[in-house]
């Protein structure tokens, strides 16, 4: 058999097309989820005594914390947007022989998001 040419995918494949780049950013939002988990773990351990909690609370009021929160928020919200957009593709609904509009499903989940956000904020801050 005559020799065939193999064209391996370069490591930089995800930089070649906006769609691939947005995909990689989406996957990297998982790091934001990791980061906030670490904050929660810190909070749980810091709450054990006044000294450590004071350190934790002071950090939350620092410019560094605000900056990090802004970055993590950007990633987390991109995760929210992409996750809600993809959910109707996984959970397909039918009404007779017509498929329920995926956008309708997405809007419903956005409504849930707003409700959940309001409930959490009221529960914690009020």
């Amino acid at each position: 058999m005559t020799p065939e040419i193999n064209r391996p995918l370069p490591r930089s494949w995800w930089l070649r097309k906006p769609a691939y780049f947005k995909f990689m950013i989406r996957e990297m939002t998982s790091v934001a989820v990791l980061a906030y988990s670490l904050l929660i773990i810190w909070a749980l351990w810091a709450a054990a005594d006044a000294q450590s909690f004071s350190t934790f609370y002071d950090f939350l009021r620092s410019p560094l914390s605000i900056g990090l929160h802004a970055v993590v928020f950007g990633l987390a919200f991109y995760h929210t947007i992409t996750w809600i957009a993809l959910t109707p593709k996984v959970m397909v609904e039918w009404r007779g022989d017509e498929r329920v509009d995926p956008d309708l499903i997405a809007w419903n989940i956005w409504l849930v998001f707003v409700l959940v956000t309001v409930i959490v904020l009221v529960l914690v801050l009020a």
């Binding site: 005559t2 020799p3 065939e4 040419i5 193999n6 064209r7 995918l9 494949w13 995800w14 070649r16 097309k17 769609a19 691939y20 995909f23 996957e27 993809l86 593709k89 996984v90 959970m91 397909v92 039918w94 007779g96 022989d97 017509e98 498929r99």
Partner: protein
Amino acid sequence: MDVTERAVLEVYRYLPDQESEPRLQNYEITYRDDWVVLDALNHIKAEIDPTLSFRWSCRMGVCGSCGMMVNGEPKLTCETFVRDYTTETITIEPLAHFPVVRDLVINMEDFMEKLPTVSPWLIPDEDKPLEEGEYLQTPAQVAQYQQFSMCINCMLCYSACPVYGLDSAFTGPAALALAERYNLDSRDNGSKERANVVTAHEGIWECTYVGECTEVCPKGVDPAGAIQMLKLSSARDWAMSPLSLVMPRGGRS
């Protein structure tokens, strides 16, 4: 009125019996406004360079033969208009993620071997004798799988899929969408049999939902959607499997 324009096609050439390395060759052509890239390639072969090799057949977007990379995007060249390209040259390359046999012709054996592994035929509960007549389906039942039945095996989705590009062991979008086409068919009862391939690691679980397969599909099959549905149904089956010991009919509806 025959208005013509000029274009330069930069075409991937590989002639294994003459050269050991592939190269790019430029062809300057004039084309009519209604030409598709396939017309341009056939013009090149007929008028300029008869040594150029490429696959094509129906020239109307139903056979799936003429898939190639046009300016880096997987396209059916019979459905891609030359006039839509404003770049200085239009680069034509063989379909990505497949070995190149010669010029624009790729080796599609891997894809051809994968298709039968998903048992793409009806596997009914019981064999129905001919005297009992035909299977009946409501429009709603047909709608369940119809979209996934539109695949023309053009392999554009495999070219768009970076997971397949990185690992050719991945079963891939078209094959998995075909599995779902049969799983969702009311005449079929073969999900369990197909699960060997579908729910293997190289099946649905290797997919990271990049979604480009769906974007490039010329027939609107949405293989990415099919794979995500398979993830959910497979996960549900897995979670319910211990219950099958106590539930009637093994938990199946």
